[in-house]
């Protein structure tokens, strides 16, 4: 009898916790919608495709910010994911045991550094370095591609992406490492007993089983990149423009909110900023969804390309 009561209390508490998350999300969307309604009503879909942002005449468009946010985050993922998987595979499979804990701890600590510190380091060390070495090198050798064309400033979309990549690498590698460590020795031995090399064992046993964890890690990293404000604001250049070159300065949603929020309290400008927050929320949700789909699709395709001898519906 007593256990029954305990169970129902427990079930109720757990339900309450789950419900609170949903309620919080709904409330947030509601508030954002309510406060941005003037802007949504005035500009409609034009808000998403317009490049104008003119507080004096109260005309607002979000495109350059959306572009900066998405491109910087995706570029960061492009750099951070291979690096993180490399770190995770090394730490979980290849590193000698005495090296595992200290190195793992170091990676975890990197994740805990405040973003303003990354931002400062980015401005004083990374951006000048990129502007003097890597960017000119890329511009010289790959300049025929518009993405790498144009003057280099150091500060800009590329510098912001690199710092973002450095910031999300600890997160992605720490979670991926956990997922890889959870693959049991049995499973690795299945491959090893067939004569798999260490790398083949990773490919055959470890990666497939760790995949859900890796996907989660990447999505978490992406979320952090999309919402990162401080370091991006310090490095992206804060220039509202659409430039094909990744070396050019740009702007991001989070940065413009942070930079302009203090100056306004109400009116159309405020509504426009709130709508930007709403857009950032939707971009995060949308990219998460896309990332999930993409990883699932490519995973299936990779399995098919391996040349399986049996077609799916062979009788």
């Amino acid at each position: 009898m007593r256990r029954r009561l305990g169970d129902s209390i427990f079930a109720f508490v757990v339900f309450l916790a789950a419900f609170a998350v949903i309620a919080l999300m709904a409330l947030m969307v509601y508030e954002l919608l309510r406060q941005s309604l003037p802007s949504i009503e005035q500009f409609g879909a034009r808000f998403l495709i317009s490049r104008e942002w003119d507080p004096v005449n109260n005309v607002y468009g979000a495109l350059p910010y959306i572009y900066g946010t998405i491109v910087s985050s995706l570029l960061a993922l492009l750099m951070a994911v291979p690096l993180s998987l490399g770190i995770a595979i090394f730490l979980s499979q290849f590193a000698p045991r005495w090296l595992r804990s200290p190195l793992g701890l170091l990676v975890d600590l990197l994740a805990a550094i405040p973003s303003v510190v990354y931002g400062l380091w980015g401005i004083f060390v990374l951006a000048p370095f990129l502007g003097k070495t890597i960017e000119p090198f890329l511009a010289d050798h790959l300049g025929s591609i518009p993405v790498f064309r144009g003057p280099v400033y150091g500060v800009g979309l590329f510098a912001a992406s690199v710092v973002l990549a450095i910031m999300i690498t600890p997160t992605i590698s720490a979670i991926s490492r956990e997922a890889m460590l959870n693959v049991s020795r049995d499973q690795k031995e299945a491959a090893q007993a067939l004569g798999a090399t260490p790398w083949e064992t990773v490919r055959m046993s470890v990666l497939p089983l760790a995949r859900p964890g890796i996907i989660g890690a990447v999505i978490l990293g992406l979320g952090r990149a999309l919402g990162e404000t401080m370091a991006v604001t310090m490095l992206i250049g804060n220039v509202r423009q659409l430039n094909a070159s990744i070396f050019a300065p740009a702007y991001s949603i989070a940065s413009v909110i942070a930079n302009e929020f203090a100056e306004v309290t109400e009116g159309p400008h405020m509504a426009a900023l709130v709508e930007m927050a709403l857009i950032l929320l939707f971009i995060t949700l949308l990219l998460n969804l896309l990332a999930r789909l993409l990883v699932q699709r490519t995973g299936n395709r990779a399995a098919r390309l391996k040349g399986r001898p049996f077609a799916k519906n062979r009788p």
């Binding site: 031995e189 007993a193 497939p208 089983l209 001898p309 077609a311 009788p315």
Partner: protein, 259 residues
């Protein structure tokens, strides 16, 4: 002679605790050798030492030698992956690749091996291996289903098929029939009987009748006391071990009067 294995004063430990010790043993080619003995005496450990699996356990150590085809597999110039390819192993606990399809599970080793095989050839080997493992009839319609979706006994046979598919020189089986019904057990034993012309088998079993039925030679292992390392107490032709064993411990174990 290929398939012939001899151990010389083989010992193995886990994190400083000796699990087996002083095992000098011969496994004749193209014969079935059974390893019997009470639980915890080191049968699995011994088997794993024969194909360089023991060293994969953190903190594990090995002493002595294992000579296969005239070469010590622990010699520094030997490649562990080559050894494992030549001496296949079926584990005590079934460990199919759970997300990989049944067919891909069976062909996993083939796809590792150097050189490309045609899809038709792979399909042919998959079918033959599954038939040998007495699993074909049950899975022929779900070859694309994940290996993890099979029953425990089916997974055990899937692992047998996976080991057979690469056609190793020696096949080590650690209680290959522990989860199987009598009919499947019978079929696995028939397969072993049929294949021993071209392979060498070592099987660990707790089933005395099975050891008596399928094996030509038997080795009895025992750890004399709790915590003592296991040793090979006696070995010889199966009919001798089972009818006129020389050691009292062997007789007690076989007649069920152990302990």
């Amino acid at each position: 002679m290929a398939g012939y294995i001899a151990t010389n004063n083989l010992g193995a430990s886990f994190g400083g605790v000796q699990a087996i010790e002083n095992i000098t043993f011969e496994i004749p080619a193209n014969k079935v050798t059974a390893i019997i003995g009470p639980s915890g005496c080191g049968k699995s450990t011994f088997l794993r030492c024969l194909t360089r699996m023991h060293e994969l356990v953190p903190g594990a150590r090995i002493s002595g030698e294992v000579v296969w085809d005239g070469k010590n597999i622990y010699a520094s110039e030997m490649d562990a992956t080559e050894v494992r390819r030549g001496i296949g192993m079926v584990f005590q606990k079934p460990n199919p690749f759970p997300l990989m399809s049944v067919a891909d599970n069976v062909s996993a080793g083939l796809r590792l091996a150097a050189g490309r095989m045609s899809k038709a050839r792979i399909a042919e080997i998959v079918e033959r291996s599954l038939k040998l493992a007495a699993l074909w009839d049950e899975v022929r319609n779900k070859l694309h289903k994940p290996g993890g979706s099979l029953s425990g006994g089916q997974q055990q046979r899937l692992c047998i098929a996976r080991a057979l598919a690469v056609q190793p020189d020696v096949i080590l089986m650690d209680e290959p029939c522990s989860a199987l019904d009598p009919a499947s057990t019978q079929k696995i034993e028939d397969t072993i009987d049929k294949l021993k012309k071209s392979y060498t088998f070592v099987i660990v079993t707790h089933n005395m009748q099975q050891a008596a039925r399928v094996s030509d030679f038997s080795g009895f292992m025992l750890s004399q006391e709790m915590g003592e390392p296991g040793r090979m107490i006696e070995y010889g032709p199966t009919n001798k071990i089972f009818t006129t064993p020389e050691r009292k411990e062997t007789e007690n174990y076989i007649t069920g009067r152990f302990g």
